[in-house]
């Protein structure tokens, strides 16, 4: 099978090799690392991050930043808690209502970006700030107690000895992966992110795709918020912002894996767990509290930087004569896209919003 070779190339799956190295290293360096407890904690703790990051991957694939996932997550967490604790709704109904409400956030973001032509970075920065205000108003800045126990089972139960949240991650990842990688919808979504005008000229309804991508990232972030309530048993006013940067880091780091240059689900999931494993190992080795942040930051910069260098090397190599003719010419210049359009945030092209 000639395709196995390239698939195992470090260019595509360097993360897997680093993952293995980390596991071997920490297993040798500590007694407590290679245990089922550690495995289970990392898997469960990171499930929420992974879910948020998967939702964000959809938005990134469509070429838009969504900073409001933090607010969506926080508000969902308050709303679902209030619906159950104060209004006494059944958990299932509360969850459904919450997710539907939070989809409005995505719709608003999408309309701001496509119709009002506001840069996604700025639009979602604005909506996020508004959402944080709404969280305070709705919660009266009080944590919400009295969450039903059967709701908490959603996070606490296990299947085959594996905590349920791990299954949520896998199911969500599988569904999103299938849609992005194997359906015409996914192709059009990536095309929207890769070149909005190119996609539009090809008949793709890019505005609709961008709106749907925002809805997707909001709803998935809301689901993560719901899961947090189930995990900690209260509706907390502090949930949300702390997941924002890890989700973005995972998205960009993930785009260097499996399908370099493209935001992809398994890359994102791998990145979440890779970073978490590194952090966990360092903590078990007795690292100071600042070490995990340092590790996350360095990992992101180094990985994205290296893959950019790699890509440029590959492009300039193939620009040397045989395959092509001359380097790109004036026709390759694209005029500045219209106001409010974003450039593709493909990670190796320098992500600018």
């Amino acid at each position: 099978m000639s395709r196995i070779g390239p698939m195992l190339s470090p260019r595509r799956i360097s993360g897997i090799y680093i993952f293995i190295v980390l596991i071997v290293f920490f297993s040798l360096a500590t007694d407590t690392f290679l245990t089922t407890t550690t495995l289970r904690t990392v898997a469960t703790e990171q499930a929420v991050t992974a879910i948020v990051a998967i939702g964000l991957t959809v938005a990134l694939a469509a070429g838009v930043f969504d900073l409001s996932i933090a607010g969506a997550m926080g508000l969902a967490n308050i709303v679902v808690a209030k619906l159950m604790a104060d209004s006494g709704l059944e958990p299932v109904l509360a969850i459904v209502i919450t997710l539907v409400l939070m989809s409005i956030i995505g719709l608003v973001n999408g309309l701001l970006v496509t119709k009002a032509r506001i840069d996604p970075f700025i639009a979602t920065l604005g909506t996020n700030s508004i959402l944080i205000a709404v969280i305070y108003v709705v919660s009266n800045n009080q944590n919400i107690l009295g969450i039903p126990a059967d709701f908490q089972d959603l996070a606490g139960d296990q299947l085959l000895g594996i905590p349920l949240p791990v299954f949520y991650v896998l199911i969500l990842a599988f569904v999103v992966w299938y849609v992005l990688a194997w359906t015409p919808i996914g192709r059009r979504l990536y095309a929207t992110g890769g070149g909005r005008e190119v996609a539009r000229l090809a008949g793709v309804r890019t505005d609709a795709y961008i709106i749907c991508a925002f809805i997707c990232s909001s709803v998935v972030a809301a689901a993560a918020g719901v899961l947090v309530v189930a995990t900690i048993g209260t509706g907390s006013t502090e949930v949300g912002p702390s997941y924002l940067l890890p989700a973005f880091a995972a998205g960009f780091l993930g785009a260097t894996q499996f399908r370099p240059g493209r935001f992809n689900v398994w890359g994102t999931v791998l990145a979440v767990y890779l970073l978490a494993t590194g952090v966990k190992g360092l903590v078990l080795m007795g690292a100071d509290t600042w070490v995990p942040d340092l590790f996350n930051g360095l990992a992101l910069i180094i990985a994205v930087g290296l893959s950019g260098i790699q890509r440029r090397a590959r492009v300039s190599k193939s620009e040397a004569p045989p395959i092509g003719e001359s380097p790109p010419t004036s026709a390759d210049r694209s005029p500045g896209s219209g106001a409010g359009e974003t450039t593709s945030p493909a990670p190796q092209q320098g992500a600018t919003a």
Partner: protein, 516 residues
């Protein structure tokens, strides 16, 4: 071609001492000898043209001169008689050569003055900019090129010639005794009048003793401006000829290595067929009251000076630019508004001129780009069948001559000419009834553009109407049954049959006597 006068100084130029001389220059890339023992000598005051197909080594030669590539051992070079080592030129030696690339490297959103001020700050990076003095300096500098433009004009508002002139002014500003100016495809986006303006500037630089190395695909222009011409083919110097002793055909033969057959358009089979495309009174900013009808089997060309309106037609037909008045009727279906999706539904496909902005997604594979319109049809058995997709796309890549026809490569890894062919494959795969091609052979080498032109004439079947917009009059002469020329936002004339000649097209484009 129109007869032209040699500059009077021509003979003096040919006796002038060399500004730059390079001998035995070779450059080997892994698996490819890009340059093979090339020698070139550019004299002071001379315009020396460098021609050759894409991939013939022109770019490599320029990059070796600029020090970007270090050549294989054995090369020697002299700048103004001083022996220098290519690939490790010192700053002083670098300063004697100035390079202007096709994209000009101007910042479009800044003014001329700001662009010219991007170099080293005169007074220190944190000192306030002396606007008044700068403005005066810039005006003086532009004046030396006979340009009367406000230095505070934003660069994006300039004409292509003005942009080039600004780039040249910047290149030569403040470097006393620069002896070689290298221009890469300087006329690519210019109309004929602007080309003349540029040539006037180049001739004046020649009088001042500056040597110009002029790289271009446009052979008629090369023959007009150059004193001598160096022809590269497959990395070798095939010939160095005096421009005045050469014809365009002779030059093409040297470049291609054999005679190129002109693809003559077959007579249109227009037996009482209904029009496939009817445009009535199309009016928008830059184009007024354009009406035309195109029947199946026809190849109809649109041309004119850049900005005269013809270049808006593909955008309207693609559905990417709304218009104010008028209707577009595609095979009986009328539109007063068109979206790209509706154009695709109406089986009208447009290949845009702006490859990167509108045509292709750089980090998509060829297959993904080509199948993007109607991607829904690639859905088989619950997924996009990538193997089937690749096979499908491969056939179209073969047809348009993409080399290598590998659907799994990323578009950004391809050269400009190959990307153009991928874009053509993408348009053809839709098997459109109305095919609109904007600048179909831009940035494509001579051999490939001949094959694309032949393909276009073959595509004009009973079941398809073709619109070609092009700034290349020769191209239109070769492939069109009719040519419509726009002037000042109106369709000014229609050329049919034997009236379609390059000279006539150029004349009609320029002609000022018509109603404005």
């Amino acid at each position: 071609m129109q007869p032209h006068e040699q500059p009077e100084a021509a003979t003096a130029v040919l006796d002038a001492p060399p500004a730059v001389r390079v001998e035995h220059l070779s450059k080997t890339f892994p698996g490819q000898r890009a340059l093979d023992d090339v020698s070139i000598e550019i004299r002071r005051g001379e315009v020396h043209a460098l021609v050759g197909q894409n991939g013939s080594g022109k770019s490599t030669l320029i990059k070796a001169l600029s020090g970007f590539h270090s050549p294989d051992p054995g090369a020697s070079a002299w700048i103004e008689g001083q022996a220098v080592e290519l690939g490790s030129l010192s700053e002083a030696e670098q300063a004697k050569m100035r390079f202007i690339h096709q994209d000009l490297a101007l910042v479009p959103s800044l003014t001329i003055r700001e662009n010219l001020g991007l170099g080293p700050a005169r007074r220190g990076p944190l000192m306030p900019v002396e606007r008044r003095r700068e403005r005066r300096d810039v005006r003086d500098l532009l004046g030396t090129f006979d340009l009367d433009i406000d230095p505070d004009t934003v660069v994006s508002k300039l004409t292509p010639f003005e942009k080039s002139a600004v780039a040249i002014a910047r290149a030569l500003d403040g470097v006393d005794g620069a002896c070689l100016l290298v221009l890469d495809e300087p006329t690519a986006s210019m109309g004929a009048a602007e080309v003349e303006q540029l040539f006037a500037v180049l001739r004046r630089l020649g009088e001042q003793g500056v040597a110009v190395l002029y790289v271009s695909h446009f052979l008629p222009e090369v023959l007009r401006i150059a004193d001598r011409i160096t022809v590269l083919r497959d990395g070798r110097r095939i010939a160095q000829v005096e421009a005045k002793d050469t014809t365009e055909e002779g030059l093409v033969e040297l470049i291609v290595g054999s005679r190129v057959q002109h693809a003559a358009p077959p007579p249109p089979g227009l037996d009482h067929q209904d029009a496939f495309l009817e445009v009535e009174g199309l009016t928008l900013d830059g184009l007024r009251d354009a009406s035309f009808t195109i029947r199946p089997g026809e190849v109809v060309g649109f041309t004119g000076l850049i900005g005269s309106g013809y270049e808006l037609i593909p955008e309207c037909l693609a559905g990417s630019r709304p218009w104010d008045h008028g209707t577009i009727t595609v095979r009986g279906k009328s539109f007063t508004r068109l979206t790209p999706a509706r154009a695709v539904e109406a089986e009208m496909t447009t290949m845009p001129a702006d490859r990167r902005g509108l045509g292709l997604i750089p980090h998509f594979t060829l297959a993904e780009n080509v199948t993007l319109p109607r991607i829904g049809e690639s859905w088989h058995g619950g997924r996009v069948d990538r193997r089937r997709e690749r096979a499908d796309v491969q056939a179209w890549l073969d047809k348009t001559g993409v080399v290598p026809p590998d659907p799994s490569r990323l578009v950004q890894e391809l050269s400009g000419g190959n990307q153009q062919k991928v874009m053509l494959a993408k348009a053809l795969r839709l098997e459109p009834k109305v095919l609109v091609l904007a600048e179909p052979t831009q940035a494509v080498d001579i051999g490939a553009s001949a094959s694309i032109r032949r393909l276009i004439t073959q595509l004009a079947t009973d079941d398809r109407a073709i619109v070609v917009t092009s700034s290349d009059a020769e191209e239109l002469e070769q492939i069109c049954h009719r040519v419509l020329v726009t002037r000042n936002g109106r369709i000014a004339c229609e050329l049919v049959g034997s009236d379609i000649t390059e000279d006539r097209i150029l004349f009609e484009s320029q002609f000022e006597g018509g109603t404005a």
